[in-house]
């Protein structure tokens, strides 16, 4: 058994942009994920943060082979998932499950809880008999803190937090090794968020699960993850142990992101350093050359940042950063400067909004 459960090498997911009525002509690509390397250690939690459109969800889906992978490999427990046939992949899926953001739209409203939970078991042929399966289902239900009578009920009868528990139970019932949780708490109220976060924590200890948690909320990720990866425009810009990242963020984007998160404490708020980024995220169909962050970076330096894409390099043990000037910025040799908002002029005949495709229906 290797220490790393998941190893992702140079993963790329490009979605074609097509034009034309009868003959689709590919006129470009949305580079949702563009060369990501990461490893997830067994029994640990890897947190992915980034703003909307940075490709974090696509990366999560690509790891589970739910999005077509353009290039690169995903090695899960020693097996390269990108080379598997669909039948082999199907049986592998038992070991990697997903929790979705919106529990209402990811649960079938016409299926009761028992049928939702049994479906996966039946598909993978787990459990010899009905009673055996029922036992398994009841055990899972208990683990996520739902009462037995929930079995005969339908998703609409539950509150948001309970629905998310059903979603978690559906993922757990198959006894997976890896759980990919895509924004598991962002649709929930704060008081319920805390319940679900604690539950995820407890389940990890009990069942020795490995998590990949994808979220836009840095505080949530920091709370739950051992290692945090920060994504910007399809690539990792920084990766570090959670505490390190908070204590000493190295990449300018991470610093800006951290300074933008409001802390529920007026004392901290009053003396917090704020790095305001100007402008918006550039389009992933036409990412800036060189360092992708240079258009908004307050520390950007002439020529090198525009010309050369910085690789993710290890600065300290376990702390990787993709910035040419990380050492200089940390030592204070470079000072931030004003950034003029660059206009992204879009001619009228071009497709105006080229966003990554909306979440397709779950094919699990």
């Amino acid at each position: 058994m290797t220490a790393n459960l998941v190893e992702v090498h140079d993963l790329k997911v490009h979605f074609p942009i097509t034009r034309g009525v009868i003959f689709d002509k590919v006129i470009g690509h949305v580079k949702a994920v563009d060369g990501v390397d990461l490893t997830i250690r067994r029994g640990q939690t890897y947190g992915l943060v980034g703003e909307s459109g940075c490709g974090k969800s696509t990366l999560g889906r690509a790891i589970l082979q739910l999005s077509p992978v353009t290039a690169g490999s995903v090695v899960f427990d020693g097996v390269d998932l990108t080379t598997l046939s669909s039948e082999e992949l199907r049986s592998m899926r038992r070991r990697m499950q997903m929790i979705f953001q919106d529990p209402m739209s990811s649960l079938d409203p016409r299926q009761n809880v028992e049928s939702i939970l049994v479906e996966g078991l039946a598909a993978h042929g787990i459990g010899a008999s009905r009673s055996h399966r029922r036992e398994q289902v009841l055990k899972t239900l208990d683990a996520v803190g739902l009462p037995q009578w929930a079995l005969s009920r339908y998703p609409h009868e539950f509150s948001g937090g309970q629905r998310q528990r059903i979603g978690i139970a559906r993922a757990l019932v198959l006894g997976p090794d890896l759980i990919v949780a895509d924004e598991p708490v962002s649709a929930l109220d704060v008081s319920i968020q805390a319940q679900v976060l604690n539950l995820l924590d407890e389940l990890q200890t009990e069942m020795e699960l490995t998590y990949l948690v994808i979220a836009h909320d840095l505080a949530v990720v920091r709370h739950i993850a051992d290692t945090v990866g920060v994504m910007y425009l399809g690539a990792l810009v920084e990766e570090a142990p959670s505490d390190d990242l908070y204590r000493a963020p190295l990449h300018p984007y991470t610093r800006a992101l951290m300074s933008a998160v409001p802390v529920p404490d007026p004392e901290v708020e009053d003396r917090r350093e704020r790095i305001l980024l100007s402008g918006d995220l550039p389009s992933p169909a036409n990412p800036p050359a060189g360092c992708r962050f240079h258009t908004r970076c307050p520390w950007a330096q002439p020529t090198r940042c525009v010309e050369e894409r910085p690789p993710l390099r290890e600065l300290r043990t376990g702390h990787r950063v993709a910035c040419h000037w990380a050492e200089d910025i940390e030592a204070g040799r470079l000072q931030p400067h004003e950034v003029a908002v660059e206009l992204v002029h879009q001619p009228a005949e071009q497709p105006v909004e080229v966003a990554a495709p909306a979440e397709p229906a779950p094919y699990l």
Binding site: E157, F158, D280
Partner: protein
């Protein structure tokens, strides 16, 4: 005198054949000129309905009953006729909504939408209005305003759209601005930009701001006074430093304990509030929060708790009969002792809720009998 004085505001939705919902159940708060006031609460606590009622934007008739008073500069907004209200809206009180895309007209260029306000309230038209509109967009930080004026909402990014909405709202230099979750739909870095912009605008023009949000982090940095809402009533009011330093209502304490903090140590457990917002008691029968409260006592179920002024506090009021003790007070020491004794005996501490939530709706008790 306060600029806006909301007194015992209530909004009841009573449709025929449906359960009566008391969305807002006696809300009181005041805003002084130039002050930033926050209304904080979870979904369904009535914070948005409060703002809609104050603006007179709730549908008339059709089973909506609005009671109480909302006195703005000496006149009660709730008793005002529709025509007079139209003059106030946009000129004296303006509003910014959560989702900028659905509050802008998709088939009308931004410029026309901004100049519309100027024409209606300030009588500007033609070149003058266009110039002023461009100036407004520039002021809220939209680059190249001349070009943006000709563009349609879908051509702008989310942050830009919210800026355009803010430009429309501040077009007439209103005396009060209501912002209903203005940054919820935006990314954090964009949220930081918008909050900074709002702060500057309020600071420069002396506009009062009513900030409605679910995010305690947002109000911590922005608001002067914070009102915490639960089930349609204000449960705690205080100046921001005091609210975060000495929260008294168990709900406020619970909310603060539920939020993962960026500056917390990794592995620190969150202390969630048990149950969900659905498990509430009608205020008439007692404290609505009692079913989820870990400090519940007999007295909580004896009618609506009154708003209590904190001794030694600065306009700090809470609606609780058994408030969280102050740190270092004799009550706190006593409670810590009893909690220790309890944990020695292996009983769960009252703050640690069972992971299971209460039943879905009212159907639970019977269902449990069935099993």
């Amino acid at each position: 005198m306060a600029l806006l004085d909301v007194e015992d505001l209530s909004v009841v939705f009573a449709r025929r054949g449906q359960r009566t919902v008391r969305a807002v159940d006696g809300v009181d708060f005041t805003i002084d000129a130039g002050q930033v006031v926050g209304l904080v609460g979870e979904s369904g606590c009535g914070k948005s309905v409060t703002s809609l009622a104050v603006m007179g934007l709730l549908p008339k008739g059709s089973g909506v009953r609005v009671g109480g008073k909302a006195v703005f500069d000496g006149t009660d907004l709730l008793r005002m006729d529709a025509r007079a209200m139209r003059d106030i809206r946009g000129r004296d009180i303006a509003m910014i909504f959560q989702d900028p895309l659905s509050s802008l007209n998709p088939v009308v260029p931004i410029g026309v939408q901004v100049t519309e306000v100027l024409a209606r309230h300030r009588g500007l038209d033609g070149e003058k209005a266009r110039k002023e509109a461009a100036h407004l967009l520039d002021r809220v930080g939209i680059p190249d305003p001349q070009r943006r004026l000709k563009e349609y909402p879908h051509q702008l990014s989310g942050g830009m759209r919210q800026r355009a909405l803010i430009a429309m709202a501040v077009a007439c230099q209103p005396r009060m601005l209501i912002a209903d979750e203005p940054t919820t739909a935006l990314d954090v870095t964009i949220q930081a930009q918008i909050l900074e912009l709002l702060k500057d605008l309020v600071h420069e023009s002396g506009t009062a701001l009513l900030m409605i949000t679910h995010d305690l982090g947002v109000v911590a940095g922005l608001c002067d006074v914070i009102n915490v809402l639960y089930a349609g009533k204000v449960v705690e009011t205080a100046y921001r430093h005091e609210l975060f330093a000495v929260p008294r209502h168990p709900y406020t304490v619970g909310l603060l304990g539920s939020i993962p903090r960026l500056d917390a140590v990794r592995g620190e457990k969150l202390t969630p509030i048990r149950g969900s917002v659905r498990d509430l008691l009608p205020w008439a029968e007692g404290c609505a929060f009692a079913p989820r409260c870990f400090r519940r006592v007999e007295a909580c179920l004896a009618g609506t708790p009154a708003l209590v002024e904190m001794v030694g506090g600065r306009e700090h009021r809470y609606r609780c009969v058994n408030p969280t003790p102050l740190a270092g007070s004799p009550e706190e020491a006593r409670e810590a002792d009893s909690q220790k004794a309890r944990s020695d005996r292996g009983e769960p501490a009252p703050g640690q809720a069972a992971p299971g939530e209460a039943a879905p709706g009212e159907a639970a008790p019977q269902a449990e009998e069935k099993v």
